[in-house]
């Protein structure tokens, strides 16, 4: 079974189809340097940019033109190094080594240049076609950090361009520099890193023999270094007898100086880090020592022992409250608009004199289901995702992972699972995709398999409606109460996630927690502007598009089942009565269980299908008041146990169709996809069975 199926292998596939007159430019850099913003500014391409380490796993590419020349920009994964200890680093390094790029723009963060220079130096060892882009100059200025760009350029020996990509400043200079370098009118002579004497001697022993064998124009010195580090594969050098001999002499020399294995690596990395430190010292001036005082103060509060978790839950409640409150009105408008269109469609079909079943199938079946899904899903998603991205942009999400890591560690899972889990509140399919930020394949699989245990937007309406009408005193249809009820249910779902993660870690996905390194990036002013709105619409509309694609056939099936009778009863009734005995065991009834099954395409349509079945109208409809809804449910035999079991089953059942397809895509395996279906289903059935049977035995109903 394969864990990863992103198709990241093979450098040429990263670029897509390149026109012969297009010049390839690569964009490299540490995570959190605004690399994606630079990419968007240069290409105008919509790509989601988040303050989230390791976001760009899938490689984006786009085009731009400058002074009549066409450029193809490739956004490489954000990495701290090229030592290839992760897939991202491997992808970035292989692409840089491939020589496909006419220029490599390394985006760096002006507020922590020293750390960023480590990557710059590593890239400079492979190619001289490098442009250093010092981004976030505005942030640096605010923190009283000055970067001397000329000084930096003269030390590094390559062009350096300063930018504030979010404001679009310096981009023109960057385009000009790219144009200049790609057309090869400048020959840079980059800085060479000096290693300790024994390493330099060993390198000198290897360079003559390597110089006689050209490998794609890769620098001899770098190839020699790879060979010393026992990585002949990357350099592409064949280890024949001659080379082996020289290499063994070089190893011998290094061993004499106690520089074998880890020590050699240590020494090489130390030289890089110390070179970066020296460069930063001469090019960066910090006029205020406690420049990060504000960030540290905020961190102390949002991660504090007593306030950390409450602040997190409070923010969650606030986001839900705004989502629920704000979605109300636009949902109504959408419903009204869709029913107006439905009238038009109906009259269009009747005036043509088309048969009744065509109208029923197309309008009452397909159209109404799609309309329902759009009207119910679109407004909350269009509010939830911007709010979520706001927190993401601000840099708060890594703090959530930081706060919750210990719980995930105890479940033998990864702290970053907290971030993909949060994304799951918006949409589980998006949450599953977000699991890419977890490097360890085992922990990534756990995160994928358990993402569905937290409820997505599509399940909120059911949870809130049922909780409000059966468990909250008085009519709590509005205000903060539903948001709090939801937070309670979500805390429950987080516990389930942790429990199942632990279970998986001790059974089929055995293993120790992998190392956890998480950057807590500086807090940044979120970009509320054009890019944000556009990227959000992308996210929302993308998910909505897939939901509509699965809702249409579902609507058709429901309509057929509800409108075709055998032996005096509709197919829907037959199916429901067949399911009834089992459904009763787990506290539901046949119609509810059937509704969950038919709602495989989209969780939103569970309640509508249940209501449709009870009233036998054969098509989706909407009830105006919660009281009316309660009466209808009670008339059909609902008790608080039914409501509780329906809520539990909604929290724990199979993922929706879109999520299943996404899981299949991410795991490249139908077996893992099947497990992701069975796991929550078994959990839900088990929980509901316990609740239903216990309440019967205790005589609670």
């Amino acid at each position: 079974m394969r864990f990863r199926g992103d198709g990241l292998g093979g450098s040429s596939s990263l670029v897509g189809r390149v026109a012969p007159d297009e010049l390839i430019i690569a964009l490299a850099g540490n995570p959190n340097t605004g690399k994606s913003t630079v990419f968007n500014q240069l290409t105008g391409l919509k790509q989601h940019t988040g303050n989230w380490p390791g976001k760009t796993v899938a490689v984006a590419h786009g085009r731009f033109e400058y002074q009549g020349r066409k450029f193809r920009l490739v956004d490489l994964p954000g990495t701290y190094s090229l030592s290839a200890s992760s897939v991202e680093e491997e992808v970035a390094r292989d692409f840089i080594c491939s020589g496909l790029a006419k220029a490599i723009v390394v985006v760096t963060d002006a507020t922590c240049l020293e750390r960023n220079l480590n990557l710059v130096l590593q890239i400079l060892e492979i190619t001289r076609r490098v442009i250093v882009c010092v981004n976030l100059l505005d942030e640096a200025e605010r923190k009283h950090i000055q970067v001397d760009l000329n000084q930096l350029s003269s030390i590094l020996g390559v062009p350096v361009v300063g930018t504030c990509a979010r404001e679009g400043k310096g981009l023109e200079d960057l385009r000009a520099a790219i144009h200049h370098m790609a057309l090869g009118t400048e020959d840079a002579s980059p800085l060479q890193i000096n290693y300790t004497q024994p390493i330099e001697t060993a390198l000198a022993m290897l360079t003559p023999i390597l110089a006689s064998r050209d490998k794609n124009g890769l620098p001899v010195r770098w190839r020699a270094l790879r060979l010393l580090m026992e990585d002949s594969e990357t350099a592409g050098d064949e280890l024949d007898e001659d080379l082996r001999l020289v290499l063994s002499q070089a190893y011998h020399l290094l061993q004499e100086h106690n520089l074998a294995g880890d020590r050699l690596h240590d020494s090489i990395v130390s030289s890089l880090v110390h070179t970066a430190e020296h460069i930063a010292k001469s090019a960066v001036t910090v006029t205020k020592r406690d420049y990060d005082y504000r960030d540290r103060s905020i961190d102390r509060i949002v991660t504090s022992r007593h306030l950390g978790i409450p602040i997190m839950l409070g923010l969650l409640a606030l986001v839900f409250w705004l989502t629920l409150k704000g979605a109300n009105y636009p949902s109504r408008v959408l419903f009204a608009t869709f029913s107006y269109i439905e009238e038009k469609l109906t009259s269009f079909i009747t005036t043509r004199g088309w048969p009744q079943f065509i109208h029923g199938f197309l309008v009452l079946g397909v159209y109404r289901t799609v309309a329902w899904v759009v009207a119910v899903m679109l407004p909350p998603m269009a509010i939830f995702f911007p709010l979520f991205t706001f927190l993401e942009d601000l840099g708060y999400l890594p703090r959530i992972a930081f706060n919750l890591d210990n719980y995930f560690k105890r479940a033998c899972a990864h702290g970053k699972q907290a971030m993909s889990m949060c994304m799951g509140f918006g949409c589980n399919a998006a949450g599953v995709t977000a699991c890419r930020i977890i490097e360890s394949p085992r922990e990534r699989m756990i995160a994928i398999l358990t993402n569905n245990f937290v409820p997505c937007n599509g399940r909120f309406p059911l949870l809130i409606t049922l909780a409000s009408i059966f468990f909250v005193a008085g009519n709590a249809g509005s205000g903060i109460v539903p948001a709090l009820v939801l937070v309670g249910l979500i805390v429950l779902s987080i516990f389930t996630t942790l429990f199942i993660s632990k279970l998986l870690s001790h059974t089929i996905l055995k293993g120790l927690p992998s190392a956890f390194t998480l950057e807590l990036p500086p807090y940044r002013r979120p970009q509320v502007g054009r890019i944000l709105v556009r990227s959000l619409l992308d996210r929302t509309l993308f998910i909505l598009g897939r939901a509509v694609a699965v809702a249409a056939p579902a609507g058709a099936i429901v309509w057929i089942l509800a409108n075709n009778s055998v032996a005096g009863r509709t197919l829907l009734q037959h199916l429901a009565s067949w399911l009834e005995p089992f459904a009763r065991l787990i506290g539901l009834d046949g119609y509810i269980l059937l509704a969950f099954m038919l709602a495989l395409p989209a969780n939103e349509i569970v309640i509508p299908i249940v209501l449709m079945s009870y009233t036998q109208t054969g098509a989706l409809f909407e009830l105006d008041s919660l009281l009316e809804l309660r009466n209808l449910l009670v008339q059909n035999g609902w008790t608080w146990v039914t409501a509780l079991c329906t809520i539990l089953f909604s929290l724990n059942h199979w993922p929706c169709g879109t999520t299943l397809l996404t899981i299949r895509q991410e795991t490249q395996s139908w077996r893992w996809t099947a497990l992701s279906f069975l796991l929550p289903a078994a959990t839900g059935i088990g929980l509901c069975f316990l609740v239903a049977q216990a309440s019967h035995l205790l005589g609670l109903i």
């Binding site: 701290y80 190094s81 030592s83 200890s85 507020t111 922590c112 240049l113 020293e114 750390r115 480590n118 880890d262 690596h265 240590d266 990395v269 130390s270 880090v273 110390h274 430190e277 990060d292 960030d295 540290r296 961190d299 102390r300 991660t303 504090s304 022992r305 007593h306 950390g308 978790i309 890594p398 930081f402 706060n403 919750l404 890591d405 210990n406 719980y407 560690k409 702290g415 927690p513 190392a515 956890f516 390194t517 998480l518 950057e519 807590l520 990036p521």
Partner: protein, 83 residues
Amino acid sequence: MPSSGSTIPLSKLPLGQQGIVRELRSNSRARRRLLDLGLVVDTIVEAVCQSPSGDPKAYQIRGTVIALRAEEAASVIIERTES
């Protein structure tokens, strides 16, 4: 910056205190990752905050704040500095 001379694991560094990296006790992959974070010998680190449960802790390393779990930070041996 005068140093105290005695060494402790990074995980034991109290919040707000600084130390200088003296030795890495992990090997291969884990070691490389720590090195890539800039944790080479002679690097100054500061413990800046901890999660509500006390683990992981976040450290200021070469201008960036990085969270490490206790068992990983324990493999980094530092010398306390009296700053």
